[in-house]
Symmetry: C2
Subunit: 339 residues, 2 copies
DNA sequence: CTGAAAGCGCTTACAG
DNA sequence: CTGAAAGCGCTTACAG
């Protein structure tokens, strides 16, 4: 049982007793059509269950209404929120989005980019700073509009439009807050690998702020992972390693997902949070309010990033000029219980 | 600065001094080509940075390598896992997937289905039992291969291929386990709205098992939400309402996300889990091991569902016959600390 | 207000 | 082994 050919405009035309061009005109409103003919065409469409073929349309118009979104991991609370925000805003603008989950794998990044380019997507949204520069060049070469959310638009010589959050400032907020509550030494740092720009900036911002206050830097309490694996386990293991060298008074963790593991281990060890060790995360994922103690963390305006980002890339797609193609948004610190 | 036309096979052909058909043949390997010509064509492709146009290809071949996935909410731990599993398996088979996040909104369901149909996706994967039957009819009408994961394939008269988990059994495992640890009464039930079949089955299974053991049913301890909102808050509020009527000895919650809220409130109230109130969730999301106490829950073989589901729909897409189009997988109970 | 016709970039019999 | 040609289902000037 193979599907018999789907009805086309030609079938509709025949049934309505008009020409195929006329059917196109009534569907797209591209010409004034008499009410009588219009009605006949609409009827024929309904009777046949005709559905316009976007593939043919795209080929002729040389434009699609599809977007590609690259993220490292939909399962992370942060990226799933980003995915939702991007997809929702795209839909509202009439675009449908391809989801590309790269797992930070360079080969996958390139495979997806190749695929998206072949699909002639109207634009590509990068949810993080791609690791594979070759893939980036391919995008540039194709002249496909591209945007990076939550990442620097600067890759060596090439620059792409971006909407990012001030990561230096995020870290500064953390150190300032710790200062304000009297924690001025033994501040630890835990992070997943500093693979993309956002994470690197957080680390730089952290170090700079520490220096700014004239704190001594004890990297016994630093634990930066060198490869990706389960985020929660990363936090869990990091606590393990740090505690072998001493006890920090506070730990700044560059993502909530990892902070969850940190808290888990600390609690198992009966270390009091925040009395003995204060913990501050980053991202403000929904779960931050569920753990005990509730997580103090740096909040990122994800929805706003996605919204402004989408507006920007759509302008570029439409060939309009965008005044500012490096939008910088501000993070805020949400103080709860863990610090 | 508008993009100049991208190179086509025709451009490649001209540069290589061959015909456009020949270029197509070397790209697709659809004809034996002399090594000499092949090399010239490959060179031309590289020099021009030619990328095959999948839109044109799809139109001519009347098939795309795209899939649509409908889920209610990427942000939920359960559906983000499903999304990842489906997307990964689709990619491995050469398909790229459109993500459609419906929020259980019937209008959105229909909008997405219309859009996917226009895009002529090769297949549609439903991540839950669609609420809008009209949308379902449209899929059927278009004869687009469709598959439902984690939901019944039976909608009134129409049946669609499905891979689901035995939800009756999941609930039975819960009641049996409670029985085995001596909890034989005052068993509560908390659920988000029973909007799709999976949830309905869990409820039925729960009631049946209670009856099976001859337990009395006290629906003072039941709290089934009537509309969607934040899952964690649902759990939180449900505890509130139930505790006003008395204290159950155990609560079965039909999803971990909601169970997180249940635990949160119980802990705030200093109710001991599991000594005073045992809590059992459903789904076994990654966070289940992070909360304190670690969540006892029913585990679903999501990856396996996605994998088997993808295999099935791809067979259907390729016109092969599938022997069993109603696969039923088995859940397992993971006993941790909360019960 | 409606139609005839070209063409988007490919694939695919078919010839030679 | 390579090419000439039709055609996938549309949109879009252009005529009338």
């Amino acid at each position: 049982m193979r599907k018999s050919r789907l009805p086309t405009m030609w079938d509709v035309a025949k049934r309505a007793g008009v020409t195929q061009a006329t059917v196109s005109h009534v569907i797209n409103g591209t010409a004034p059509i008499s009410e009588k003919v219009r009605k006949r065409v609409i009827e024929a469409i309904d009777e046949l269950g005709y559905v316009p073929n976007a593939v043919a349309r795209s080929l002729k118009q040389n434009k699609t209404n599809t977007l590609g979104l690259l993220i490292p991991d939909v399962q992370s609370g942060y990226y799933s929120e980003m995915t939702k925000a991007v997809e929702e805003n795209a839909r509202k603008k009439g675009y449908i989005t391809f989801l590309c989950n790269t797992s930070y794998n360079q080969q996958l990044e390139e495979l997806y980019i190749n695929n998206l380019l072949q699909q002639h997507v109207a634009g590509i949204v990068l949810g993080y700073g791609l690791l594979n520069e070759k893939a980036l060049f391919k995008i540039r070469n194709s002249r496909t509009p591209v945007l990076i959310i939550d990442g620097s638009g600067q890759f060596g010589d090439i620059h792409i439009p971006s909407v990012e959050v001030d990561n230096h400032k995020g870290s500064r907020l953390v150190v300032e807050y710790l200062h304000s509550i009297g924690i001025t030494r033994d501040i630890g740092f835990i992070s997943e690998p500093l693979q993309h720009s956002a994470l690197q900036r957080r680390f730089e911002g952290f170090i700079n702020s520490l220096k700014h206050f004239g704190y001594s830097i004890n990297d016994d309490f630093f634990n930066i992972e060198t490869k990706q694996y389960d985020k929660i386990k990363m936090g869990y293991n990091a606590v393990e390693r740090i505690l072998q060298k001493g006890r920090p008074r506070a730990i700044f963790v560059t993502s909530d997902q990892v902070a969850l593991g940190v808290i888990k281990r600390l609690k198992e060890l009966k270390v009091k949070i925040p009395e003995e060790v204060a913990v501050i995360g980053y991202d403000d994922v929904p779960l931050a309010t569920v753990v005990t103690p509730r997580l103090t963390t740096v909040s990122q305006p994800i929805y706003s990033m996605a919204q402004q980002g989408l507006n920007m890339i759509l302008k570029i797609i439409e060939g309009k000029t965008v005044e500012n193609d490096r939008v910088l948004l501000q993070p805020t610190l949400v103080v709860r219980e863990s610090a």
